[in-house]
């Protein structure tokens, strides 16, 4: 099978590996980079569990080929915590608001919300729900997740009094 060399920056580190051209970015991250925090639920762009930041934009890593991401700067769930593994404001809010249970969908939600609050620091509830509409959770329910986004918006300082 024809292999191509993929080079990209993942969570600040340069990564390079030869892989089949058909390999998705998600499989590349999980299998070639050992970053198994990016989860694959549906593998056709519906569930959002595999969401990563590609040059800052939230994308579904199951719908991007690794070769398409060559040269890009990728941030995964593993790259969001601060020094000493301190949870990011979004991660901490999910913990505080019971925004996760089994945790399978959580990386996709956290990455999605991280990008959303960067672009919409003071969102309305309607905007929050629309932002979450591309991610599926099958056990926790969405109320805690919505509450987590509200709390994270406050923690991040974007909410106007």
């Amino acid at each position: 099978v024809h292999e191509v060399t993929v080079r990209l920056i993942v969570n600040g580190h340069a990564r390079e590996a030869a892989t089949e051209a058909r390999t998705t970015l998600a499989d590349f991250l999980r299998e070639r980079c050992g970053l198994t925090g990016t989860h694959l639920g549906c593998e056709h762009g519906v569930c959002g569990a595999c969401t990563v930041l590609l040059d800052g934009a939230p994308v579904r890593a199951c719908l991007v080929l690794a070769v398409q991401a060559t040269g890009a700067d990728v941030t995964t769930i593993e790259g969001l915590a601060g020094p000493d593994d301190r949870l990011s404001p979004v991660q901490a809010a999910f913990r505080d608001c019971h925004g996760l249970q089994c945790g399978f969908c959580t990386p996709g939600f956290v990455v999605t919300v991280t990008a959303f609050l960067r672009d919409h620091p003071d969102p309305t509830d309607q905007e929050i729900r629309e932002a979450l509409s591309g991610n599926l959770c099958r056990c926790t329910g969405y109320q805690g997740i919505v509450a987590a986004v509200r709390q994270a918006a406050v923690t991040l300082g974007g909410v106007r009094p």
């Binding site: 694959l40 593993e78 996760l100 399978f104 099958r138």
Partner: protein, 234 residues
């Protein structure tokens, strides 16, 4: 809190931080698909595209010839050694409607597993499943609960009927006189949705057969997952 043991009082009524959240929130959980073992192989099923069909033959030769494919199994290979686990909520006298690991002679629903490909990677296994040539003779299917009982088509021929279980909460015959004398009788058909699992709640399984490596420890270790990050080991 009164009347509660001191240990319980620590938790009742108080918020308790979950110990697993930090790793789940930072991508450090361990789900079945994250586990890689030395020499691990991947399995992929060939599944029926029909709701009901006779299986006239299966040609696995092209799939078996794919580099990286270790085995291609059909019912004849696997079923004789499998003790079928049978589960029912209607008691031990429920009818035996077999659900063999791999379809024997007939498929009974879309997705019914027909063959199993084992390969060195998931991609190879999935590629090879497309090369398994199953000769189906499509048959009429039973797709409606309301007409199933009167249908000439039997899902389980040996059972002799499409009625497998009946849940009666009230013996209505006992109220026949009351119903006949009632000023008003209301009839209602209550429908409920069909349920199906989503891919985020899979039944993943990893089995590590250890007897060959470790003569003192027979058996195998298994990791399973159904929407829970913790693995089950046996």
């Amino acid at each position: 809190v009164t009347g509660v043991a001191p240990g319980a009082a620590r938790y009742v009524g108080s918020r308790v931080a979950r110990v697993e959240d930090a790793r789940l929130l930072t991508g450090r959980g361990t789900y079945v698909d994250d586990v890689v073992l030395p020499g691990m192989l991947h399995a992929c099923f060939v599944r029926s595209p029909f709701a009901r069909a006779a299986v006239l033959g299966i040609d696995t030769s092209a799939a078996a010839a794919v580099p990286g494919v270790r085995h291609v199994f059909t019912a004849a290979d696997l079923n004789p050694d499998v003790q079928e686990q049978w589960h029912t909520t209607i008691g031990k006298d429920g009818p035996d409607t077999p659900r063999p690991p791999l379809a024997e002679g007939e498929v009974r629903f879309v997705g019914d597993p027909v063959a199993l490909v084992v390969a060195e990677s998931r991609a190879i296994a999935e590629d090879a499943t497309e090369l398994v040539d199953v000769d189906y003779d499509q048959l009429s299917a039973v797709v409606d609960y309301t007409t199933a009982e009167g249908s000439d088509t039997l899902v389980h021929e040996a059972h002799g009927s499409n009625l497998v279980a009946r849940l009666d909460t009230i013996a209505l015959d006992a109220f026949a006189d009351d119903l006949a004398a009632a000023a008003h009788v209301t009839r209602a058909t209550i429908r409920q949705q069909a349920c199906a699992p989503v891919p985020m709640e899979p039944r993943g399984l990893i089995v590590d057969y250890t007897r060959a490596r470790c003569p003192t420890r027979s058996g195998s270790s298994a990791r399973a997952c159904s929407a829970f990050p913790s693995t089950t080991s046996a």
